[in-house]
Amino acid sequence: MTLFSSSMTLRAATPISDAEFKELRDFIYQRSGIWVDEKRKYLFENRFHKRLATLGLKSFDEYVKLLKFDPRSAEEMKTLWEIITTNETSFFRDIKQLESFQKVILGEVLAEQRKKGKLELNIWSAGCSSGEEPYTLAMLISESLGLELPKWKVLISAVDLSPAMIAKAKEATYGDYAFKTTTEEQKKKFFVPEGANFKVKPELARMVSFQQMNLNDDAAVRRVPKSQIVFCRNVIIYFDDAMRTKVARAFYDNLLSGGYLLLGHSETLHKISTAFRPKFIPGAMAYRKD
């Protein structure tokens, strides 16, 4: 006996042929460096099903043609990035890493700048999603600098592939989900309530500058201001080794000497790059450009 009045089918989407899948996958890879495994074919069918319907397209082949050759392509790319990226993030994510970063790395970098008499700090947050990570960094910096803060010129350049995420980040307003790894204390200290949500305090938000950017776009990447610190957490897991090597190189080129790269909890430069000197900090690994 069934509660369903009619039978339902598991397949709810237009099938994608192997050839179509390969074409779309290769297109995405060439543009963004994001590598989609064959096993995610059905997910693709499902994800793009609605999009195809909205665009009035009958097959994936037509969709790829639109992306490649149609005048609407530039506009459609924005939606494409939205569909294929996953943007999981939260404030103070991986607090163990952040605490050691603040104590060891940030401490060292700030001291170095003071010694040089250059009260400037540039940070690049690559793959910043909806902004929680770069804002968290602004919070850690303001905590470390305390009353000294007004004397410093701090710039956090935060970039992400997804235009939707960048737009959300610029608003600086967040609901419960963003705070799942945040204590009440941190929330009180760095945010102001706004209806049911919370907004990043303006003096912190001011440190961060957001921009839509593709890490596979060499020219754009070269325009990012040279930094003392690069954060690229939970982004390179979506890339293949060639793309990982490429971005590691870009981070190396962007860093000033004595600067540090920090990756996500489970990510390493093992097999990717030997240019950096790995440095253990409690709960994490930092990569130094000597």
């Binding site: 991986d94 996500g264 909890h265 690994m285």
Partner: protein
């Protein structure tokens, strides 16, 4: 709530109050979704009418189907067995929703704070061998396990010796007796001693169950904040009961499959102990990307929980036939005996599908079509298998808690 005459009661309606028999016993409890057989019983017993809940359709069949489909995004939608499992899973989701279950939204499905947890090893620092070694150096495995294992290996061990050994452990014998009295064995009269349990189900069979319980108990003390342990045990036991039912149909030794099912994710337990933060990240990655957990583990750790169980079970000298089924449940055709591998493979997939309506949040792993062919089953058999499972599971779970 409304009083409905029995001849107007229809399957799918939900009871608002307990239904009592003439002598005052509870026949059906409030909240039950009526099925045709309920209606039949009401008619046969001459119950005049029942209180029916006026439940608003908070969840439509389409929503239930979509919710369920989201867990099936990793599987081949054109495989008939997966289609059937999808129907089974969606039915359970809708059924539970009619009883008031609110489908979890994306945010609640992903929220979890484990920021206070530290891994024993840094990123890229631990191989399955090092993880297992770290554990075996710290703690010794229960002596009882090795004595059971010895007896299982020796053709000479008598029923009496095994019964004595098990009886010596009060906790173990109590649990075994509850299990033997549960619906998975459904004895005609209650079994009240280990000696009788041995006569009923066999010496090796009982020792096999005892071995599995002893092994899994080793992990009983995992702190609850590490992982939602009730959900973990529920999945393990679901897999155990399904594997046992499948084994009986295949003419394979049921106890071996119950034990293998119980331990099929044992590698994950060790991962939780050693890499709590990384395994939580793997769970988050799996949910975010609609991947089965083992795939997310492979991406983040570069190995998965079966790579850990391979080393762990070898270290424990776990009986090879069961170890093979456990270690290859995601890769069944590579097991030394593909039929065993396939049996546990299907049991795990079914357990994942059934688990969706229990709040399970991970993508159902895909069915290896060769494994399915190996089992020589018809997709429709999956329905009857689930009926059998439902008749046995809750009471077996109670026996285990």
């Amino acid at each position: 709530m409304a009083l409905i005459q029995t001849h107007e009661v229809k399957p799918g309606m939900v009871l608002a109050a307990d239904v009592l028999s003439k002598d005052g016993r509870v026949l059906f409890t409030a909240g039950a979704v009526l099925e045709p057989w309920h209606v039949q019983v009401l008619k046969t017993l001459g119950v005049a009418g029942v209180e029916i809940a006026e439940i608003e359709a908070v969840v439509t069949p389409d929503q239930a189907a979509d919710y369920t489909r989201a867990a099936f995004l990793y599987v081949n939608p054109d495989h008939p067995a997966m289609q059937t499992l999808f129907e089974i899973a969606a039915e359970r989701v809708l059924r539970r929703a009619t009883r008031g279950w609110v489908l979890p939204d994306v945010a609640t499905r992903q929220a979890r704070n484990v920021e206070h947890l530290s891994d024993v090893f840094g990123p890229g620092q631990a191989s399955p061998e090092e993880i297992v070694q770290h554990e075996t150096e710290l703690a010794s495995f229960p002596d009882l396990y090795f004595r059971l294992k010895e007896m299982l290996d020796s053709p000479k061990s008598s029923a009496k010796r095994i019964a004595d050994l098990i009886s010596g452990d009060v906790g173990l014998s109590a649990k075994l007796l509850r299990l033997v009295n549960s619906p998975i064995y459904a004895p005609v009269s209650p079994v009240d001693s280990v000696a009788r349990a041995v006569t009923l189900i066999g010496t090796n069979e009982l020792a096999t169950l005892a071995l599995g319980i002893t092994a899994i108990n080793y992990f009983q003390d995992i702190p609850p904040e590490l992982i939602d342990m009730p959900t973990f045990w529920r999945h393990s036991l679901t897999c155990a009961v399904l594997a046992m039912i499948l084994a009986r149909r295949q003419g394979l030794p049921p106890e071996r499959f119950f034990t293998a099912g119980l331990l099929h994710d044992v590698g994950r337990l060790l991962l939780f102990k050693k890499l709590p933060y990384a395994s939580t990240e793997a769970m988050i990655h799996a949910r975010e990307n609609f991947l089965p957990l083992f795939e997310a583990e492979r991406i983040l750790l570069e190995f998965d929980h079966t790579d850990v169980s391979k080393v762990l079970l070898a270290e424990w000298k776990f009986p090879e036939a069961m170890a093979q089924a456990i270690n290859f449940h995601h890769d069944p055709m590579c097991a030394a005996d593909p039929q065993s591998g396939a049996t546990l493979h299907l049991a795990d997939i079914m357990a994942n599908a059934v688990g969706i309506a229990d709040g399970g949040m991970y993508a159902v792993p895909d069915l290896d079509p060769a494994a399915w062919d190996e089992l020589n089953m018809q997709p429709t058999e999956l329905h009857s298998l689930i009926v059998e499972f439902d008749a046995q599971f809750e009471k077996t779970l109670a026996a285990f808690l």
